[in-house]
Amino acid sequence: MNAHLDQATSKATGRLTRVRSVGFWAVLLVGVASVAAPPFLDEGQQTIYVLFTLSVIASVGLSLLMGFAGQVSLGQGAFYALGAYTAGLLAKQGAPPPLALLAAPVGTGLIAAAIGLPVLRLRGHYLAFATLAFHLIVLTVIAEARPVTGGDLGLGGIPPLLPAPFATPLVYCYVGWLAAAFVILLTGNLVRSRPGRGLRALASSEVGAASSGVAVGPDKLKVFAISAAYAGLAGGIYAFFLSYLSPGSFPILLSIQFLVMATVGGMGLVWGAVAGAAIITLLLQLLQILASQPGLPETLPAILNYAVYGLVLVLAMLLLPQGILPTLRDRLSRRWPE
């Protein structure tokens, strides 16, 4: 009987190891490909690449919040905007751009901690609504604070992050890549740490977590602040990359976009957010190309955009509530013949 048990266990472990090694090789492949790609892309594609890395950062942050605190935030775009304006304003005031960039996640994290204190008392749909409201309020504040932020007309003339020879889109590709890689590694460590495991308990049951010694209050706040800081970092890079900001760059749709990316790849998984960001970016680009063909109605790009967001959200929740990566992982581990 023991021999049977050992055999079963080793079969299961073997299967898991094989899936894990597939994951390892996949990550390696993705890493190598993403580093090697930028020089071969034209400027337009490089821009898409940069924005993709930024959306990865923001989506990983959101995925962290959703997966580990079990809460939906519709305000990630607001933190992205806050980070962008923080970095842009500081740089315009004369701060060295790299320092301004560092200030972006720090400042955003602090703001998030400040509003999180009252707002995180809310749960579920109330929190979702509150984060949405927060995004709208931030947009209004930016638009109204004309003397500081340039209001609706926008904030232009933001100096580049690195001086002259390094101010090309190619350089920003690698800035974005480094930031994304850093965020992914950091989150991976966070997730595996002891507090990280306690947080996962948070997501499944707040009562359970509290009774197991994980303080619900401070940890949820930390995750919220970290998640916002990620978005702030991405926003900061965005400010330097585009050198022009306006409230119109950060509509509610942006928060939804991050939500879709974080949801579809696999909630609560770091690589899930990456996969989600990649899928959505590619999908949207594809549709953009298709819909911009001459002869097609002008509104088609917008229609397809909305349809993609809508259908992806609905279908993902219906068919793949776990997200793409976990479903793939399940399928793979079941397929291995024994």
Binding site: G124, A130, A133, L136, I137, A302, A307, M317, L318
Partner: protein, 282 residues
């Protein structure tokens, strides 16, 4: 003085419109525990249908009824998607309603384009205490009052209404009593759709109609619903009216662009305060 009165009366009327939307939220939530972020979408689709019906030559009254029915149908479909196919956990349901909102956007842009449209409501104004009020506002208040009365009758005295109340009160027991709670939930969605459509038909003639008009409506409707804890329609009515008046006052005495932000801030403050009070009690 005249300005204040006008703002108050306008606020009451628009607030009633928000309240209709809010009751849609409330009924759906009570029976299915789902918060339908696409509630504003029901209003907008009804607005568009009204526009098209009127443009096609159908008379007033018929167009509006058609629009409300269309919205109820959309509500039904949404209900089937969200709770009819499988047991959806609340977080997923919330995300799905957001997705539904976008699908509606895509549909609306495809059929009606992305430029603002306008359709006529009840034209003309009348005077109240020296202030001129649009007939449309009076209509909104009248329809809201009638709707609430009908709903009270429905839930208080009809069999289906009692079954509804039972499902909202104790879905497990309702299931045991042989009630198909899922089917009742879908009916709740259709009812929410109809109420949302009614709000849309009434409110959207007062402003220009675009596919993203639903954001503002959803936010206001949800805020009003929160007054009643997403459970009680009468409190949602109070909440809607208070919100409507508050918005009008801000728009009248301050800058209109602050309107949204201040309302939201106040709503958030109320939410947080209530949550804090509940924590202290437990």
């Amino acid at each position: 003085m005249g300005l204040l009165l006008q703002l108050l009366l306008t606020g009451i009327a628009i607030g009633c419109g928000y309240a209709l939307l809010a009751t849609g939220f409330v009924f759906i939530h009570r029976v299915t525990r789902v918060v339908n972020f696409a509630q504003g979408g029901f209003a907008v689709i009804a607005g568009f249908v009204t526009y098209s019906a009127l443009a096609a030559g159908l008379p007033h009254g018929v167009s509006e009824v058609l629009a409300v029915l269309a919205a109820a149908l959309v509500g039904l479909v949404v209900g089937v998607l969200i709770i009819g196919l499988r047991d959806t956990p609340p977080l997923a349901a919330l995300i799905m309603t957001i997705g539904v909102g976008f699908c509606l956007w895509a549909l609306e842009v495809a059929v009606w384009g992305d430029q603002p449209l306008q359709f006529e409501g009840l034209g003309g104004v009348f005077a109240v205490a020296g202030v001129s009020i649009q007939y449309q506002y009076a209509l909104i208040v009248a329809v809201t009052a009638a709707t609430f009365a009908l709903l009270a009758l429905f839930f208080g005295h009809s069999y289906l209404g009692k079954v509804f109340t039972a499902c909202a009160s104790n879905p497990y027991a309702a299931r045991l009593a042989g009630i198909d709670v899922r089917r009742v939930g879908i009916i709740a969605f259709a009812l929410g759709g109809g109420l949302g459509g009614l709000a849309g038909v009434l409110l959207l003639s007062l402003r220009s109609l675009t596919f993203d008009s639903d954001v503002d409506l959803s936010i206001n409707g949800f805020a009003a619903a929160i007054f009643g804890g997403l459970q009680r329609p009468w409190l949602a009515l109070v909440g809607g009216v208070v919100l409507g008046i508050f918005e009008q006052l801000i728009a009248g005495y301050s800058r209109a662009s602050y309107q949204k932000a201040v309302s939201l801030f106040v709503i958030l403050a109320i939410l947080v305060w209530r949550a804090a009070r509940r924590r202290e009690q437990t």
